[in-house]
């Protein structure tokens, strides 16, 4: 049968033989020499992983699944095991992680020989749970695993861990009792114990006994998966057990149980809805409760339980949808993701060894650990490129095809909540020196080899995630390029900052152009803005002399992922790049001065947005059966819903009205040069998305005007309130940020018009916005660099020091305001005409109002910063650095050209739109003629130039005869008194107080209050969900009994 010993050892049976043999021998070796026992232990674990790996490889290459029969008798009369693709995959992954966990734990494991053998046999037990095909044998493996786990939990023998362990034993032993009872009655009805045989004869399982027996089995496995609320015992163990053990319980034992459930699912056909519901509720509830959690390990516990809930739910859903062929991606992806990330996090928790997440701030001193930490958290959330991303994607797609929209909502809501607390934790860790708690704690002492296992886990996450891309319909190299760029930049991260910037420009230029050079239409247009614009604005970043570790790799990822976004053909590619962009921009905001908190809200809103987009794509996929973006238009009846979801996503990303609260903070606290990129470049990605879906859905699928009309209103409200809020800002960056929000509102309205002119105005404004916001934020960067202030009333009179910056700012502001002759007017004119064309009069009126309001803040910016009285300490300030002005010059030049000859821009824009909507642009010479009126830009430019030059010349001539006296700063007519200090005279603080009195009530931070209340409410809800966690083991046992009874009653018990 098997000739060589090696063959036999590499047979899956070898897993048992080696584990048991080594396990039995460890005490003997230990008697001889502790080191040899440890060696044996490590070797055995390595062998376990190797065997699984070798066999898995063979199966992947096409070998048939291996059936292991025992006793020389064929099943069902003897016990057999199966090693197929799924078993192999899970076993291999588990054994590898177990090996790493052992290395991580070796320090404490090696103290006791029995701990070594317990660990080894626990791993074998999990292997057995996965491979065995015999019901009673499964029970034995569950028990082996449980017993070993009990002992290992108690290994440290502190009071709390023992208490937790005892509760754990009570709970799991009741679960085991259920399992045994179920097994017995199943045997009673079917006369067999072989799972396959039972499935064949499942018709024999019937009547009350059949029902009760099945429910015993099912409840037992579910309890082992720690469903909410009967899971307090599990959480206690996660909180207290040694991190390596906790990691193995979280990822190993649970996975074994889940696999057992998977094997028995064919018997559970009637109960699939309840299983799905239970696991779904568990996923959601754990994540809500997680929000309230301050203890790091317990937090991980909630996350673990939540993830297992998600996995279970995914599994059941696939079974229910008869889509088990997708399991390899959905469950496999989520599983690998959870396995590596959660294990890694537990190990990290062990290394950091701080109970409260607030105390994890110690991690801020260790950038590499922080990197590992962040990677794992991103993986858990399901961000690309990690395996969870692919798994979640496919899961949502499958759910959508079955019209399970409620489930989609549940998964996405749960994920968002999980993101909230995990990234909050990450933020705490990154933040460093927060005052609470850390004072008394010594700095972390981490030996260099300790994080190695975590590092391997993270490395594997990246590898597996990238590898999984090959399973999906993705042009892999293109979409992994952002990561490649980031990696390349990471390698040169030691270079001086400016050099890195240049390297980054080269890399991004190379990759970006490579990605986008053969694009057409809207994508091509946006490639100029996103790639070209990104590069241009990034030049400004050269003004920073410092090293900026980590900044350039992230920026490279961001910019290249923007390029990749444009290249996306399918919704999956789009979403992948989108998420990558979200993640990298989050990190870039977070590296800003006080960027962490606003970055968190940025991330959460961005993820919320992403999930809307996700759901939209899913619905579209369900409707069209295609992932191609080009097929979005075939969504038929669902087009309105798809459009609504996608538009909601993009609008959140653009800081739409009511959903904008992330925007000012992130723009304000990000690095100044990055804010310029964020506003002028990154926001364009949202517009790109909006235009794309408007093209495919709005025009092609003809969703009707109602969703578009709503979008139009959202846009104009955004514009109005963005402007109103900008008026009352004291912080220069916040002011420009709100202004950005307002300007994007016009674009949204333009897109919503779904007419040629509307789109032209949107695209034109987009370009224009890129130009003037680039200038404004770069100018602001220069101002902040020089003054070291952000509050405008602390500036003033800077025109004397920074005339160039002032001029550029002024031009940008005129271009923004829409005052002729500069480029802004065209956008307003087209928008107004398009609005009138469409009959959206109220929106037109608001557009008027908001552009009037915009004057207030624009003037305020110029007045309080550049004009008025200069502060004494600013007397010696210099002009902004040339490198910061250089991109502005280019942008100014572009504004001027477009202002004078808008046709240069409008023609290509029109050509971009023409394929979607027939052109309505009528040119009469240089004059653009609409239904209502006309716009002759060159002529306006000429006339304005003329009427401006003539008085100027006159004044100059007069001046020749005048004795013009240049006066000192304070030489003003001020009640005949000469003010002593500029602070007394510079009218800047609360500039529009009267306006505030008049209509300030409109802009009280209601949105912020609303979101705060939402957060508060969620937290309260989260704590109320914790009511079940009394800490009393008996109560937990009672929950388990109740759980079973509940299952019984729900699943037909009432009818008996």
């Amino acid at each position: 049968m098997m000739n060589s010993l090696l063959d036999m050892l590499l047979h899956p049976l070898g897993i048992y033989v080696i584990a048991l043999g080594a396990g039995f021998l460890i005490p003997l070796f230990d008697r001889a020499h502790r080191g040899s026992a440890v060696l044996l232990f490590i070797a055995a674990l390595a062998a376990l992983a190797t065997i699984a790996g070798v066999n898995l490889l063979a199966i992947i290459k096409g070998a048939p699944p291996i059936f292991i029969e025992t006793a020389g008798i064929s099943p069902p009369f003897s016990i057999n095991m199966r090693f197929g693709l799924f078993e192999g995959g899970v076993v291999f992954a588990l054994n590898s992680v177990a090996f790493l966990a052992a290395l991580h734990l070796l320090g404490s494991l090696r103290k006791h020989a029995s701990a070594l053998l317990l660990y080894l046999i626990m791993v074998m037990g999990i292997n057995g749970m996965i491979m065995t095909r015999d019901l009673f044998n499964l029970f034995i493996f569950i028990e082996i695993t449980s017993l070993a786990t009990y002992a290992l939990i108690g290994m440290e023998r502190t009071g709390s861990v023992l208490a937790a362990g005892f509760k754990y034993i009570i709970a799991t032993s009741i679960a085991s009792a259920f399992f045994l009872l179920g097994t017995v009655f199943i045997y009673y009805q079917t006369g067999t114990l072989n799972i396959d045989d039972i499935i064949v004869h499942s018709d024999l399982i019937q009547g009350p006994i059949g029902l009760i027996a099945s429910l015993f089995l099912l409840t037992s496995l579910l309890i082992e998966l720690k469903p909410y609320p009967a899971n307090g015992w599990g959480l206690d163990v996660y909180e207290t057990a040694p991190s390596g053990i906790a990691s193995l319980i979280s990822v190993g034992v649970s996975s074994g149980v889940l696999f057992a459930l998977y094997k028995l699912l064919p018997l559970m056909g009637d109960f699939l809805p309840s299983i799905a519901l239970i696991s779904g509720v568990t996923f959601l509830a754990s994540n809500i409760i997680g929000l309230k959690q301050g203890n790091a390990r317990r937090l991980l516990g909630y996350s673990s339980i939540g993830q297992m809930g998600l996995l279970t739910m995914a599994l059941v859903m696939l079974q229910q949808l008869d889509a088990m062929d997708m399991a390899i991606i959905v469950v496999g992806g989520l599983f690998i993701n959870h396995l590596l990330a959660k294990a890694g996090l537990f190990w990290l928790a062990g290394i950091v060894n701080r109970e409260q997440i607030n105390d994890w701030s110690a991690l801020s001193q260790h950038p590499w650990l922080l990197f590992l930490f962040g990677s794992m958290i991103a993986a858990l959330i399901g961000l690309p490129p990690f395996p969870g991303f692919w798994g979640k994607w496919e899961l949502i797609m499958q759910l959508a095809t079955a019209d399970y929209y409620g489930w989609i909502l549940l998964v996405l809501a749960g994920s968002l909540l999980e993101a909230a607390y995990l990234f909050r934790w990450f933020t705490r860790a990154w933040q460093g020196d927060i005052t609470t708690g850390t004072a008394g704690l010594p700095a972390l002492r981490i030996r260099f080899w300790q994080p190695a296992t975590v590092g391997i886990a993270v490395f594997l996450l990246y590898v597996m995630g990238s590898g999984m891309a090959t399973l999906m319909d993705v042009t892999v190299p293109a979409f992994l390029l952002p990561l490649a760029a980031g990696l390349a930049m990471l390698l040169v991260d030691g270079l001086p900052g400016r050099l890195k910037n240049i390297v980054m420009l080269l890399i991004v230029g190379f990759f970006g152009i490579g990605l986008t050079h053969n694009l057409t239409g809207i994508n091509l247009l946006f490639s100029y803005l996103l790639v070209g614009g990104g590069l241009l604005i990034s030049i400004g970043a050269l003004y920073r002399k410092d090293n900026r570790r980590g900044f350039y790799p992230l920026l490279a990822v961001l910019l290249v992922s923007l390029a990749a976004l444009l290249r996306a053909r399918t919704s999956l590619e789009f979403f992948f790049s989108w998420e990558l962009m979200t993640l990298s921009s989050y990190l870039l905001i977070a590296v800003g001065r006080n960027g962490l908190k606003p970055a968190l809200s940025y991330l959460l809103f961005s993820l919320g947005a992403a999930y809307f987009i996700f759901a939209g794509f899913a619905v579209a996929f369900a409707a069209t059966g295609s992932l191609l973006l080009a097929d979005l238009g075939d969504a038929g009846e669902q087009a309105g819903l798809v459009f609504g979801l996608l538009a909601a996503g993009f609008v959140i990303k653009l800081g739409g009205f009511g959903l904008h609260i992330w925007l000012p903070g992130s723009y304000a606290e990000a690095d100044d040069d990055f804010t310029a990129i964020l506003s002028s470049v990154v926001s364009k990605a949202g517009i790109f998305g909006l235009v794309t879906i408007a093209a495919y859905l709005g025009v092609q699928a003809d969703i009707g005007l109602d969703p578009a009309y709503v979008l139009g209103w959202i846009g104009i409200l955004t514009a109005t309130f963005g402007a109103l809020m900008a008026v009352f800002q004291e912080d220069i960056k916040r002011l420009v940020a709100y202004s950005s929000m307002g300007q994007l509102g016009y674009i949204v309205t333009g897109v919503a018009l779904m007419s040629h002119l509307g789109w032209i105005s949107a695209l034109y404004t987009t370009v224009n916005h890129f130009l003037f916001k680039g200038i404004l934020f770069l100018a602001v960067a220069g101002i902040i660099l020089r003054t070291n202030e952000r509050l405008m009333y602390k500036m003033g009179g800077l025109i004397k020091n920074m005339p160039v910056t002032f001029t550029f700012t002024m031009i940008a502001i005129i271009a923004m305001s829409g005052v002729p002759p500069l480029s802004g007017y065209g956008g307003k004119w087209m928008l107004f005409n398009a609005l009138m064309d469409k009959g959206w009069y109220w929106i037109a009126a608001l557009a008027f109002f908001s552009s009037a309001v915009a004057f207030l803040y624009m003037f305020r910016l110029l007045q309080t910063v550049f004009l008025g009285q200069r502060k004494l300490e600013h007397a010696k300030l210099r002009e902004a650095p040339a490198i910061l002005l250089a991109p502005q010059v280019i942008l100014i030049a572009a504004i001027m050209v477009i202002s004078a000859y808008p046709k240069l821009l409008l023609d290509p824009l029109s050509a971009t739109i023409d394929p979607w909507i027939a052109s309505t642009l009528v040119w009469e010479g240089t004059s653009l003629v609409s239904h209502y009126g006309n716009w002759n830009a060159p002529m306006i430019m000429a006339i304005v130039g003329g009427v401006w030059m003539i008085p100027l010349i006159i004044l100059l001539l007069v001046s020749l005869t005048l004795k013009i006296q240049k006066v000192e700063q304070f030489n003003i007519v001020f009640a005949a008194e000469r003010p002593r200090r500029p602070e007394e005279t510079h009218f800047a603080y609360n500039f529009f107080a009267h306006y505030d009195r008049a209509i300030g009530f409109l802009v009280r931070p209601r949105a912020t209050a609303f979101w705060n209340a939402t957060v508060e409410w969620t937290h309260t809800f989260g704590s109320s969900l914790r009511i079940f966690y009394t800490g009393n083991g008996q109560t937990y046992a009672l929950f388990i009994i109740m759980y079973f009874i509940g299952m019984f009653l729900v699943n037909g018990g009432l009818e008996l």
């Binding site: 017993l147 023992l162 017995v184 009673y188 206690d236 800490g1031």
Partner: protein, 124 residues
Amino acid sequence: MIPDIPISLIALCCGLALILIGLWGMLTQRNMIRIIIGFSLIDTGIHMVMVSIGYVTGGTAPIINDSVPLAEAVKRIVDPVPSALVLTAIVIGLGVTSVMLSFAVRIYKARKTLMIDELTESKL
């Protein structure tokens, strides 16, 4: 009445009753040792259930020798499988009990108490 009730049903009912008693003990007794006893009762109850399930009306021990010749075996013996399973289950129960007991010992040593409701420090 009495002859109507099959012997295995009586065993089954006893077993189930034991399980209930054990559950009662586990849920109501605060002392950990008593909880462990409750668990043992459940265990024993399950074992009784298992054995009674394996009973075949009028069957005898599944040992094929002179008293039960092979030819009659199918008709005369009880099911050997549940007996084999019980054997395993007993050992497992024993293992769990011993570990539970050692936890109790250790908890007592660390906390000087055996009351389970005093071990609620980790809960939220």
